[in-house]
């Protein structure tokens, strides 16, 4: 079994290196195939491991070698495969295998095809380290690793130039990549601090040893550690206020968005909270804050999705919103539900993104849903997939999203946090609305694209076939919720609904469902109809304050630009030109200049005139004499 662990971990690494070998050469399809096969191997290993764990219930723990040994700190490269990590592994490898295969089709015209696979596999490798590591430092390796791969992949089309925000809200891929990296770094600092707190208070970074020692620590320390770790999670999972990078990250190729910015990497924050659940369980205040923030983000992101016109950005907002749901669950103590939603979300959101990728491919990278419409006929497969995924996202039974999201909302009710519950329910309605707004605008309604000269065609067959596992999973995952609960609660704390909630389950579910369906219906009436009822842009609405607010993402990017980026630039410039050059360096040069000019001045005593010299000598002598006399008198 240990070998399987290594195979699961290193197959993507081998894939990445292999592709990197050809990174600078011509596009070669077989590289994509080899990479996909290697990912497939990793997937098989992961699933086998999952089955093994399911059967035995025994986690596998391997230590590969030492990494850092200094002072009292010992950090090994250790990997643990338990219920949580194996879940993540399975999800990650499943989605990534599909995405790899998908990318063979999607990227077929890109000259950097080989490089793309190298990056993509490297990302999977980092993600595997992240989820498999048995200590916080190893987690951090993966954490940063996925960050770099995300940077590389967002900026994959590095040659695109910067555009003003009005033309491209993400400016350029390289800009978006840097933004993502830097924002993540801010959060990583929090993560590092969390690691430091843990190390100095427990003397180790191994999960099991740390968790064993937690009860001995003061609540104060626990709170700090929890906050610090959560800050790390906020960055990676793009929680407010570190969320702006996620929508900008859509500059990357769509498979990347599907894999990294929907299914896997962005859920790392949630994974961290789940992984460190003993810690968060002991800090109820922090947990509650997490839940509240999650709820807030769920609503906040959904609200922005309502008015967005960019296909990928809509999905990105929905990802953000769903992450909020996950955090809400994790914060409320329902760790396994959060994890379950994470998995389910990974499948349907990846599917959604890949579908969007198909549309993009068909529309020659046009993403404005207002320029589409009536694509259903030309892209039947994609339409089905996306509708399925949207139904799952919207939380309609019996699809995956219904089960997991419903459980989260129920949890909020169960914890008596009715306000959170209410918001989550409303958000569920909004989710359904914007998902179907997007579906209807894209695939239904009037044909707006032909007029604009687009001639969309369906994606390659094999791509559609490759997407099918995700579609299947998006449908069926929810059906295994009970089994999964059994499986996962061997490691994670079980979450029992109270008697009271239990009674109301059916009603609560109905309420959510009602909201969801009404959202879909609303969307249908507004966007799906044709003819004279066809959707038209309403200038009055678009001039409205709320619309503008939402459209401009609550002006958050603008505020960041205005109050952080610009001042940083200006201050840097001032520090350089005014402080460093004009004060610090000028002082040094000033001393030198002072010496030099005083040399020039003193030099004038050397007039060359003998009489002057004699005067100097006499002055010196007389002064010496006078001083002598005076000091003698004093003495």
């Amino acid at each position: 079994m240990e070998n399987l662990v290594y195979i699961a971990l290193f197959a993507p690494f081998v894939s990445s290196l292999f592709a990197a070998l050809f990174g600078m050469t011509e596009r070669k399809v077989w590289i994509g195939i080899v990479a996909s096969i290697l990912l497939g191997i990793s997937w098989i290993s992961s699933v086998t491991l999952a089955y093994h764990i399911y059967i035995t219930g025994e986690p596998i723990h391997v230590t590969m070698m030492d990494w850092i040994n200094a002072g009292d700190i010992h950090i090994p490269f250790g990997f643990v495969v338990d219920q949580v990590s194996v879940t993540m592994m399975s999800v990650v490898t499943t989605v990534s295998t599909v995405v790899h295969i998908y990318a063979i089709g999607y990227m077929d015209h890109d000259k950097s095809f080989n490089r793309f696979f190298s990056y993509l596999s490297a990302f999977v490798f980092s993600m595997m380290i992240l989820v498999m590591s048995d200590n916080f430092a190893g987690l951090f390796i993966g954490w940063e690793g996925v960050g770099v791969c995300s940077w590389l992949l967002i900026g994959f089309w590095y040659h695109k130039e910067d555009l003003p925000r009005e033309q491209n809200p993400s400016i350029s891929p390289s800009w978006a990549a840097n933004e993502a990296f830097i924002v993540n770094r801010i959060a990583d600092l929090g993560m590092l601090v969390g690691i430091f707190v843990i190390y100095w208070n427990t003397g180790t970074l191994q999960y099991d040893e740390v968790f064993a020692q937690l009860p001995n620590l003061s609540p104060h320390i626990l709170t700090i550690a929890a906050i610090a770790l959560f800050i790390g999670a906020m960055g990676k999972s793009a929680q407010f206020p570190l969320h702006t990078w996620l929508t900008d990250a859509m500059e990357g190729p769509t498979p990347v968005s599907a894999l990294i910015h929907a299914a896997t990497m962005v859920t790392a924050g949630v994974f961290l909270v789940i992984r460190a659940n003993p810690l968060f369980a002991m800090t109820p205040d922090v947990s509650f804050f997490i839940a509240s923030l999650g709820t807030f983000v769920a609503f906040y992101a959904a609200s922005m999705a309502l008015v967005e016109r960019d296909l990928k950005r809509i999905i990105a907002y929905s990802t953000l919103s769903q992450l909020g749901y996950m955090f809400a669950a994790a914060g409320l103590g329902a760790y396994w539900i959060a994890l379950f939603h994470l998995a389910a979300h990974a499948f349907f959101k990846a599917l959604l993104f890949l579908g969007a990728g198909n549309v993009m491919h068909a529309m020659h990278d046009e993403l404005d849903v207002f320029k589409m419409g009536e694509l259903r006929k030309k892209m039947k497969g994609t339409w089905i997939y996306m509708t399925l995924a949207s139904l799952a996202l919207g939380g309609l039974p019996p699809l995956a999203g219904y089960w997991s999201k419903d459980a989260i909302i129920e949890t909020a009710f169960n914890e008596h946090t009715y306000f959170l519950w209410f918001i989550l329910v409303v958000t569920a309605g909004m989710t359904a609305f914007y998902s179907f707004r997007q579906i209807f605008l894209t695939f239904h309604g009037e044909d707006r694209h032909t007029a604009l000269g687009f001639h969309p065609h369906e994606m390659y067959k094999f791509v559609l076939v490759a997407m099918s596992p995700l579609a299947v999973l998006a449908v069926i995952t929810g059906w295994f919720m009970k089994d999964y609960e059994e499986f996962i609660t061997e490691l994670l704390p079980a979450y029992e609904m109270s008697e009271h909630t239990h009674h109301l389950t059916a009603y609560l579910g109905l309420i959510v469902l009602a909201f969801a369906i009404s959202g879909i219906v609303l969307a249908y009436f507004k966007y799906a109809r044709t003819g004279k009822n066809a959707f038209k842009q309403d200038a009055n609405v678009e001039q409205g304050f709320i619309f503008k607010l939402l459209k401009n993402q609550y002006y958050v990017p603008a505020i960041y630009e205005r109050f952080i980026t610009e001042p940083y630039k200006v201050i840097s410039g001032i520090l350089w030109t005014s402080v460093d050059v004009k004060i610090v360096d000028a002082t040094v040069d000033g001393i030198a200049k002072f010496l030099y000019t005083s040399g020039d001045k003193t030099r004038s005593m050397q007039t060359g005139n003998l009489s002057n010299y004699l005067n100097w000598m006499a002055v010196g002598g007389v002064i010496l004499l006078v001083v002598a006399v005076i000091s003698a008198m004093i003495a």
Binding site: N615, A618, V619, G621, V622, L625, V629
Partner: protein, 187 residues
């Protein structure tokens, strides 16, 4: 009484004469008053019982040094009034005054002490020249000989500096590139 009169007379005269030496614009006056001052100083020596010194003073200063100066004066043709720019005479007099004040302060101190025993005492009833001779040719023989060397140095220096050989430089310092040019021309 006699000593007092002599002292004050000589003091007044020497100070006056030297003032003339220092202040006069005319070289001749200055030199003459310098010579006269020297003579009066030998008077001090006689008063103080340093007869030998007095004689040497007269011979060396008034005889030799002054003669040298007068020859020099003629050589330099400096009999006319000398024009001197005295830009900072205030400073000069301030310095002079201050130094006088300080030195007077120093000398007004009770320097003289009866506890000091003469190392080379003058002998009663022995002439000053004899006394001096004995000390000079025993204790101070080495300095005396060195002084002879010093005078020799001064003589050589005077001779070679004033000699004709100094009139033009014997330094031969044509540069190689000049020589190369010459060689080229010859070819």
């Amino acid at each position: 009484m006699y000593e007092i009169i002599a002292f004050y007379l000589f003091s007044a005269l020497t100070i006056g004469l030297f003032l003339v030496t220092v202040m006069s614009k005319n070289v001749l006056y200055a030199m003459t008053s310098l010579a006269a001052g020297m003579v009066l100083i030998s008077g001090f020596f006689f008063v103080l019982g340093a007869d030998f010194l007095g004689v040497v003073q007269l011979i060396v200063y008034v005889g030799a040094v002054m003669a040298l100066y007068s020859f020099a004066m003629m050589f330099f043709d400096a009999t006319r009034d000398i024009k001197e720019k005295n830009t900072n005479s205030a400073l000069v007099f301030l310095l002079g005054g201050l130094s006088a004040l300080v030195l007077v302060l120093m000398f007004a101190a009770p320097i003289h002490s009866d506890a000091i025993h003469a190392l080379y005492p003058m002998h009663v009833g022995v002439g000053n020249a004899q006394d001096v001779g004995i000390v000079l040719f025993t204790k101070y023989l080495v300095p005396f000989e060195v002084a002879a060397v010093m005078l020799l140095v001064a003589m050589i220096a005077g001779i070679i500096l004033a000699g004709k050989k100094m009139d033009k430089s014997l330094t031969k310092d044509t540069s190689i590139d000049d020589e190369i040019l010459v060689l080229k021309d010859e070819k």
